[in-house]
């Protein structure tokens, strides 16, 4: 079972299908911008707090339709490993982020792919400019997000970052992507 093919989890609470489409799109976009800003500014605690307990943070390798349960991914974290990753960054001795990457990312082409119950699946393109000791790197990805409405706000359930060049050798990817 691939991560994003997994059936929608909690369909009890508020029905987002009843929300006005423009309002929903706006609310989704605001959430993606928040997540992007927290990642760009290395706000590790703020970023970690966005995730639900059943989170999956996934950067596939060798295409965007691989099975992360069987094949290697650049990154395939459950909630507990997200926590380890964040704690490592916060030691101050995660050498590849000491000094930290300078980052600015642009998110665009936001589309709501599916609404079911209190969850929404979103597609977006992202360009990330990274500057670090090595030099400048431009990252491009087609992202898929699953957001869940919890207590009046969105939380991040799944994030798949399909780097367009993930079938080629890529540089160290140690910032929050």
């Amino acid at each position: 079972m691939t991560a994003l093919a997994q059936s929608f989890a909690d369909v009890s609470a508020p029905d987002l299908a009843a929300t006005d489409a423009v309002a929903l799109h706006h609310q989704v976009a605001q959430f993606l911008y928040l997540e992007a800003r927290l990642a760009d500014t290395h706000d590790y605690d703020g970023w970690e707090a966005l995730w639900t307990d059943d989170a999956i943070y996934w950067v596939p390798a060798n295409g965007d339709d691989t099975d992360p349960e069987k094949e290697m991914s650049v990154l395939y974290d459950n909630r507990s490993r997200i926590g380890v990753r964040i704690r490592q960054l916060k030691t101050g001795r995660r050498h590849t982020q000491t000094p930290r990457s300078e980052l600015a990312r642009v998110i665009s082409n936001i589309e709501i792919a599916e609404v079911r119950g209190n969850e929404v699946e979103v597609r977006a393109n992202v360009l990330i400019y990274e500057d670090n000791l090595r030099g400048d790197t431009l990252w491009a990805a087609r992202n898929t997000y699953r957001l869940r409405m919890v207590d009046g706000g969105f939380r991040l359930v799944r994030k798949k970052i399909a780097l367009v060049n993930n079938n080629k050798p890529i540089f160290t990817l140690s910032f929050l992507v």
Partner: protein
Amino acid sequence: MPQAAVSEAAASAGARDYRALIEPARINSRLYYDPAIFQEELEKIWYKTWVYVGHTSEIPNKNDYVTKSIGPMPVLMVRDKEGEVRLLLNKCPHRGNQLCAYQKGNRTSFTCPYHSWTFSNTGDLMGYALPDGYEGQSKAGLNLGKVPRIAIYRGFVFGSMAAEGISLEEHLGGAKAALDQLLDNSPTGELELTAGFLQHRTKANWKFMLENETDGYHPGFVHGSVFQVTSSGIGSLYGSDSTALTRDYGNGHTEFDLRPEWRKNDKPLQWFGTTPERLPEYVKAMNAGYGEERARQIMIDGSPHVMIFPNLFIAEIQIFVLQPVAVDETVQHVTAVQFKGAPDINRRLRQQTMGSVGPAGLLLADDTEMYERNHRGAQILDPEWLVLSRGLHRERLDDNGFRIAHSTDETPQRGIWRHYLNLMTEAR
């Protein structure tokens, strides 16, 4: 390029004196960044000695192929129609076009997109388009290029671009035992490397990786952040009190041997940070495969940590393949070890591999940061010489006559450079 500080012999092209750049316990920085030295390494190491190419389990079926490499050069590893493993060069003999543009697949023939010459997966030219233009000419000599020598040790496929030379067995020497140790951890004695490779692009000379793979001095510092936030308990393996050993097998092969620690503790699967209770299927299969007593010993000793010169690194649960692409750029290809007939441990092997290695790995991203800083630092003129003297006073020979020392000593690195000097100064 800094000239002043380098001896005349070292700087003069064509007759570079490697003896003036490599001493038993220190080496000249130039070896890492000089493009002319890199070119000479291609000739004297990568396109000559035995180089690891791939594993037979990556091409399980007839007509499977996968794109691999020898140094910067792509190589097609193919299982032909008869089931024989071949190493073909991906260059159309007509006008040199890149023949196959895909990473892997299954096909009996390859057709060049430029003028449609078609080659069987044995490398033979089957036919060309519009053959009237070649009337009276022979097809002889128009086959795909081949890696002249291929040898397979228990599924590990090696190639050598030299038509003659020592056998693979002779090249592997004592390090062959480490490959056997890895395969002993499989209940069937076989691997299935089916999870695909991550490719980590690294802006550094390949020898920084070669040396670091068996450097037991760095983990406590480079990976201190991981030891701090996980309860792995492996940090102590890299301290002064560790009984782990570094070993120089000769021929450039080196090892970080943890068995003394595991044997002291006498706990099966401790090497993998787990217990037999957590992997019941695997333990059952191991007992069935080897008998309980032998299986217990294998599961105590664990998997090896060995660097097979110049490019195959077995890091207990990962297979790394180092590919130099330029003097200042290397690709680290890496996949999880997968044992045939052991699904429960395989799942954990993949998960731990994804967490620790590759571009986002909790461990390897920091190693790679060090490689890139190494490469930038090496180009600074002073000091010109880098020091590899750690543990010189406590080196000794093991029962097999291989040089060993404390886990944090630079015995492996000295061994690598000794072999490197031999290769670079060898008569043609």
